[in-house]
Homo-oligomer: 252 residues x 2
Amino acid sequence: MDLSIQQVASLTGTTSRTLRHYGDIGLLVPSRIASNGYRHYDQASLVRLQRILLLRELGLGLPAIAAVLKHETSPTEALAAHVLWLRAEQQRLGRLIESVEKTIAAQEKGEEIMAENMFDGFDHTQYKDEVEQRWGKDAYARGDTWWRGMLPLEKQELKELVAALNSDWIAASTSTVAPDSTQAQELAQRHVAWLASVPGTPASKPGGDMKGYVLGLAQMYVSDERFAANYGGLAGATFVRDVLTTYAERDL
Amino acid sequence: MDLSIQQVASLTGTTSRTLRHYGDIGLLVPSRIASNGYRHYDQASLVRLQRILLLRELGLGLPAIAAVLKHETSPTEALAAHVLWLRAEQQRLGRLIESVEKTIAAQEKGEEIMAENMFDGFDHTQYKDEVEQRWGKDAYARGDTWWRGMLPLEKQELKELVAALNSDWIAASTSTVAPDSTQAQELAQRHVAWLASVPGTPASKPGGDMKGYVLGLAQMYVSDERFAANYGGLAGATFVRDVLTTYAERDL
DNA sequence: CTAAAGCTTGACGCTGCGTCAAGGTCAAGT
DNA sequence: ACTTGACCTTGACGCAGCGTCAAGCTTTAG
């Protein structure tokens, strides 16, 4: 008829702290509070608690449970909505797992296959002439010393980053993503952020014309087959150019 | 060469608040703090931030990211561990979904099929005689008036609870769960908690012999075929009895 | 009568920032 | 020179759901 907080807790497998919490938020108030402040619960409390715990085990949040108990929501309704939530979460995790595994795989073998020439394609060795011609004589020197000065681990990290970016580009260009879609524009943002992180680009210099730089670069991806090869051929490079120019015009 | 916090934020698609947070926890400290307190970042910061964001998108926690950046963990290692985590979570959600859907289904049709006779089997109508004979003359009267006094919605809720408990019992008894296993004992706990929530049971009365009550009841599940039918036949009832007696002996 | 349980309220901690609040700083326009 | 307005700063609360001390009162068993 009249149970103490501990009795209720051990009977239902929860803790007294939880019961006090439920009391605080009004989810399950004690049926009686003695003059010494002790909480006491009766059968109705236990029945209610049973329902609370049942719903909680199914993953419902306390506010949702409260709504059900207040008859503001039917149990079926609440559970159906909850299932949608759960499914969405599960799918999100699925996509995450896919991404992570792709990243791991790209890291283990892509490191040799793509990274070297991909990154090389950008700031040194074989493109020395272009770099000097387009971005000034000292651009190559700066980029090169920067690259040489990096620790091997840092190099690897950058390669991984570029590899990830690149594979995302290819994935996007071979799917039906529009150049001005949010997804594509986010890729452009990442790409530009990466460019900005490379010393020698105009991004960070006081009056640096990052917009012109990106526009020129985007065009080069298409006209230079060596770059185009990195983005899945001419079609891919064209896609990259369109996305980048859209981004540059709108956000730079 | 020297970017403001906002420039970095918009370049990488995060917010200045995030960057300040990363500074606070030491994940990404500004390369320079001017005399006016303004934070400034350089290329190295951007490179580091790129990696942080890449790993964050894959779902890694900030401490894990910090470990990778400090070279305490290799990226591959961290990602591999993370994938395990993700898989476990995904499976947990899968089990949750299953449970919730089972509950919904049981609620929609089980409500008519099982609940009525299941709950009726316990405290009134057809078992009037037994109840009076075993637990005293007034037990039946109390239980019956209590049950009749409940609102329809409350009745339904209790039925659902009992239905869930019952299906778990059957699931456990038809699998290879040992009577003294944690899983089975938790079922017993729920069962006893439910019993205690029914008025007229000795659980809450000052000197109530809950242990004896449960032991007698457990035996009845086996000897009375009407109860046994609720738990999947004699085999199920035997399992229920064993679990309950184990629980009563140990915890009551 | 004392020690051991059991009870109370109060408050921090955890994850990763979002979101005010209150107030300096700086470049541009009047 | 003065006012906007944009951008910057350091706090500090909020969220979900309790776990986990802490300090102190009450009841019970020995």
